[in-house]
């Protein structure tokens, strides 16, 4: 493997997700550059975990993430607008029934 060849190869970008405590969701922290996944985990720890306690780290190659298309936002999501029956506010209850338990 010649070094000349290596020089032109950029390390991949990985997205970093941190979980601070067990049971909490992993949330996106930022990204790192790394040659492989072991290095990506170590870099993520060094870059995003110098202070806060971290319970777990996920890394995923940026190019492997599939996201919804920003331009198609309306056509992709607006179908939920007409599903008001999925919210409790859609339903009507007899007067006083909500407070019945509190008044007991």
């Amino acid at each position: 493997m010649s070094t000349e060849q290596n020089k032109n190869e950029q390390w991949e970008i990985w997205e970093v997700f941190l979980q601070e405590k067990s049971g909490e969701p992993h949330s996106h922290a930022g990204s790192v550059r790394a040659a492989d996944k072991e290095m990506a985990l170590q870099n993520a720890r060094d870059v995003y975990g110098r202070r806060d306690t971290i319970n777990n780290i996920w890394i995923v190659k940026t190019k492997d993430i599939t996201a919804t298309n920003i331009e198609d936002k309306t056509s992709f999501f607006d179908s939920t607008d007409d599903k008001v029956y999925r919210h409790p506010q859609f339903y009507k209850l007899p007067d006083g029934i909500k407070d019945a338990f509190k008044k007991r």
Binding site: M1, K7, G30, S31, D36
Partner: protein, 311 residues
């Protein structure tokens, strides 16, 4: 096209963040790349004046604090390079701009750190000024930059406080220590005021940046906040601000300084500061001398991939 621009402006007006895959005007992208990469370079070059004192820190406590601080600056540089990369510029391109002096970085890092008191002053003044800039910029419209800055601000406070502790201890020490602190303040005060950039009337990019919410407060507004805070703190330390024209305006309830030496500001920005060449050649040799580490990691990855394919 028109629709995209309207959506962009609507999002800005309701305070929604702009994200990498959103449509944005070409000049918004260009200005952000310039701003974020300059900020990243400043963090990275900022390691050099302080790194100068790691081996000569006066105690183990000071040494671990300084090591942690310099490590943070490297981390902050990485957050920011990542944020800039989301706009389509590669890291190699940014490094190249820095190493060939095409890119700018904060001119304050082109001043030398001559005494131990300078490490205290950098924390108190330089990080103090940076915090004022960054907490304001954290409200900017570009999502990745804003999130990076929030992370930086959380960590930056330790930098300022450890510096103030150093200054406080020198000021309550021997006469020589007090003199060392005063002499250091004399050198760092004016360059710190310059960190906020030219006066609003001379700031060519400001109006576009304000419109796009990649600048939130004006240079002079932020500089005034810094002056008011720092002058009061200097009194507590028993230090004298090196400005004979400094006076308190009882109407505005703020401190007015004499005029900044703008010739010096532009001269340092244009490459004629005391350490411009030293900083860039240190960066360049760090990058080039360690290229074997990057090459080795890449070779290792290729070797592993080949093994995996063969298996």
């Amino acid at each position: 096209m028109v629709d995209l621009e309207l959506t962009f402006e609507k999002n800005l007006s309701i305070g929604q963040k702009i994200e990498p895959r959103d449509w944005m005007p070409e000049n918004y992208r260009k200005q952000l790349i310039r701003l974020i990469s300059q900020h990243a370079h400043s963090e990275i070059v900022g390691m050099l004046p302080e790194g100068n004192w790691i081996t000569r820190a006066p105690s183990l406590r000071r040494k671990i604090a300084l090591l942690a601080k310099v490590q943070d600056e490297a981390g902050h540089g990485l957050y920011l390079y990542c944020a800039a990369e989301t706009l389509g510029i590669s890291r190699e391109e940014m490094f190249d701009q820095l190493h060939t002096k095409k890119a700018k970085y904060s001119s304050i890092f082109n001043y030398p750190t001559l005494t131990w008191a300078d490490i205290g002053m950098i924390g108190w003044l330089v990080d103090g000024a940076a915090i004022i800039n960054q907490t304001t910029m954290a409200k900017c419209s570009y999502g990745p930059y804003s999130r990076g800055l929030l992370r930086i601000c959380k960590e930056e406070n330790f930098h300022k406080i450890q510096g103030m502790e150093i200054v406080g201890i020198l000021c309550s020490g021997t006469n020589e220590q007090k003199e060392m602190a005063q002499e250091s303040l004399n050198r760092w005060w004016w360059p710190s005021l310059m960190m906020f950039g030219p006066h609003d009337t001379n700031s060519p990019n400001s109006s576009d940046l304000m419109k796009w919410k990649i600048k939130i407060k004006s240079n002079d507004e932020l500089r005034q906040r810094f002056v008011d805070m720092t002058v009061e703190q200097a009194k507590v330390f028993g230090l004298t601000i090196p400005d004979p024209e400094l006076k308190f305006n009882t109407e505005t309830r703020s401190w007015e300084t004499g005029e900044i030496n703008w010739d010096e500001f532009y001269s340092v920005i244009n490459g004629n500061g005391l350490c411009n060449n030293e900083r860039i050649s240190a960066r360049r040799s760090a990058y080039e001398d360690n290229s074997w580490v990057r090459d080795a990691a890449t070779s290792y990855k290729i070797k592993k991939n080949k093994k995996a394919e063969a298996a």
